[in-house]
Every structure is written in structure tokens, then in C-alpha cells.
């Protein structure tokens, strides 16, 4: 008697014809979600940590202001003087009336400096601010 192994007659192949479609879908998703306009940050900073944080839902409203360890201030792509904050932010507010200013301030900065910036923002009527922090776990 001869025993022969039975082989399944079905093909053992994964259909790959729809692979490009699936990948293109993924690609499209990432293309839509990507924000390529990244600003070069010229200052070095370490954000403070906090627990009671909120997420900013609408990224398009956010405008950033960096303050580095050495108290240098950056808005957009340039380092600026603190007196210039008012004019720049006033211009931004003209474009986006309900702009949220995200303050990315180094943790070692003195409050006096932060207050000066806040005073400038108040003069520019940018009243919605957000102290950027990392989430403490």
C-alpha cells in the first residue's frame, strides 16, 4: 500500500492586487495629517512638567513663542527683542482674531521675564495663552 500525502488543492497565496490601494489610502492619510511647515527652533529650552494639562484642539489657531535658557525670545523664524513682541503679535492677531499664543518657556526662567512678555501680549490683545508643558505621569 502506498501512502501519499494529501495536499490541499487551494492556492496558498495572499492576494496582493489590492495592496497598492491599501497603501495609497494610508499614504493619503499621512499626507493630509502632516504639517510640513516646521519652524527651526533657535533657542534651547526644557519645558516644565504638569498634570492638569489640556490639549489644544485647533492647531491652526496656535502661534508659538519660544523663550530659551538664555532669555532669548523667538517668534516665527527670528530671534527678537522683547519690545518687538507687541507689534508682531498684534499683526498675528489681525490675521487670526482668536489666536492662542503657546508659550514655550524654559523652566529656569524668572517670572519677571514671563510677566514682561505677558504684558506685551496684553498690549497686543492676545489674551488667550497657553503655558506649554510636558505631561507628568
Amino acid at each position: 500500500m502506498k501512502f501519499s500525502k494529501k495536499r490541499a488543492s487551494t492556492k496558498q497565496e495572499i492576494p496582493t492586487s489590492s495592496m497598492p490601494d491599501i497603501v495609497f489610502m494610508l499614504l493619503l492619510f499621512f499626507m493630509v495629517t502632516t504639517t510640513l511647515r516646521e519652524v527651526d527652533v533657535l533657542v534651547s529650552f526644557k519645558l516644565p512638567e504638569a498634570k492638569a494639562v489640556e490639549k489644544i484642539e485647533n492647531k491652526r489657531l496656535v502661534s508659538y513663542l519660544w523663550v530659551g535658557k538664555d532669555s532669548r525670545v523667538q517668534i516665527n523664524d527670528n530671534l527678537i527683542k522683547i519690545e518687538e513682541v507687541k507689534n508682531i503679535m498684534y499683526g498675528k492677531r489681525q490675521e487670526l482674531p482668536n489666536v492662542i499664543v503657546s508659550l514655550r518657556i524654559d523652566r529656569s526662567i524668572d517670572m519677571g521675564f514671563v510677566t514682561d512678555i505677558q504684558q506685551e501680549l496684553r498690549k497686543a490683545y492676545c489674551l488667550r495663552i497657553n503655558y506649554s508643558t510636558t505631561v507628568k505621569i
Binding site: T33, A50, Y131, T133
Partner: protein, 177 residues
């Protein structure tokens, strides 16, 4: 005599075998280039800038005066406390004012010195926010049986009206001049 060259017409098809590879490469590029960082932080609304702002007297029991001095000490109504204690002190005071009308809610006044460290200030502000969030959560649980974040928009507004977050940023002395 026929001078027209005859071309053999092959099946005019674009080879699609490498399509997946190309798409994968593109996908990889966007995966690497994407920065999915959600902005997190402590939100605040600054008061409007008015020259010679009027000062309105506020009754003592409405106010919780929080002072963070240049050494990093935290003083709540003049008593030195540690940072985690801010929450345990503020929570009962917020809770006691839930049922009062909107002009009698607690105001937390945060004041700093010009030399106060920013990190210290954020830690204190975080505690204040946290105590408000916890009170909101507890109130929502007792009233609606769900956490604040899971409530509908109307219910959230209702809780927000009951427990508004009022944080007043006092200017450091030197700014006034």
C-alpha cells in the same frame, strides 16, 4: 508596394507590479516626516490691558491669595504650605461655593515675585487647575454619574457654570512701579 511599416501592437498595459513598492516608499517618507505631537499645556486667559485699571474690592472669603516668593515658598493666605498641599487646601473651599451664585465663587489670585522660578510657578498653577478639575469631576459624578470629560456639551456647560475656574494673575510689584 506598401511602404508603411507595420508595427506589432502589444497589449498596452502599464506594469503595476512595482506600484506597491513606490507607494510604500512614499508612505515611509511621510511617516518619517510627520510630527504627531499634540500641544499640551495649561490654558489661561489674560485680562485686558487697561491703563489705570480700577480696583474692585473683593470680600476676603472669596479670595484665595497664593503667593510664590523668590525662594520658591508657597504662601496661601499668608501661611507657608508645600506645593501638594495647595490642592488639599483649595478643594474644600471650591466645593463650599458650588451652590452660591456666580458672583460669590472663589477667586484664586496667583502672585509671584520677579525672581520666582517659572517652573515653580507652573507647579503651583498646575495644582490650582488640578483641584478645579477634581472638584468638577466629583460634581459630575455625583450629578450625572460620569466624569466631566464624558459629559455632553450642555452638561459640561452646566458644570462649568457651577464651578468656574477663576484665576487672577496679580502683577508682580515691580511691574506697577
Amino acid at each position: 508596394m506598401a511602404l508603411i511599416k507595420k508595427k506589432k501592437i502589444l497589449g498596452a498595459a502599464i506594469p503595476t507590479g512595482s506600484m506597491a513598492d513606490i507607494a510604500f516608499l512614499l508612505l515611509l517618507f511621510f511617516l518619517v516626516a510627520t510630527v504627531i505631537d499634540v500641544d499640551t499645556g495649561i490654558g489661561l486667559t489674560l485680562p485686558e490691558f487697561i491703563e489705570d485699571a480700577e480696583t474692585v474690592p473683593v470680600s476676603k472669603d472669596r479670595m484665595a491669595a497664593l503667593l510664590i516668593n523668590e525662594n520658591g515658598d508657597v504662601l496661601l493666605d499668608g501661611n507657608v504650605i508645600s506645593i501638594p498641599q495647595i490642592r488639599t487646601n483649595l478643594k474644600p473651599r471650591i466645593e463650599s461655593k458650588i451652590e452660591l451664585d456666580s458672583k460669590k465663587k472663589l477667586i484664586v489670585s496667583v502672585k509671584t515675585d520677579r525672581k520666582t522660578n517659572y517652573n515653580r510657578y507652573i507647579q503651583a498653577l498646575d495644582q490650582v487647575k488640578l483641584s478645579y478639575f477634581e472638584v468638577r469631576d466629583e460634581y459630575s459624578e455625583s450629578k450625572f454619574g460620569r466624569k466631566f470629560i464624558n459629559l455632553s456639551k450642555e452638561e459640561q456647560d452646566d458644570v462649568k457654570e457651577k464651578i468656574p475656574i477663576i484665576i487672577s494673575l496679580a502683577e508682580p510689584e515691580a511691574v506697577k512701579k
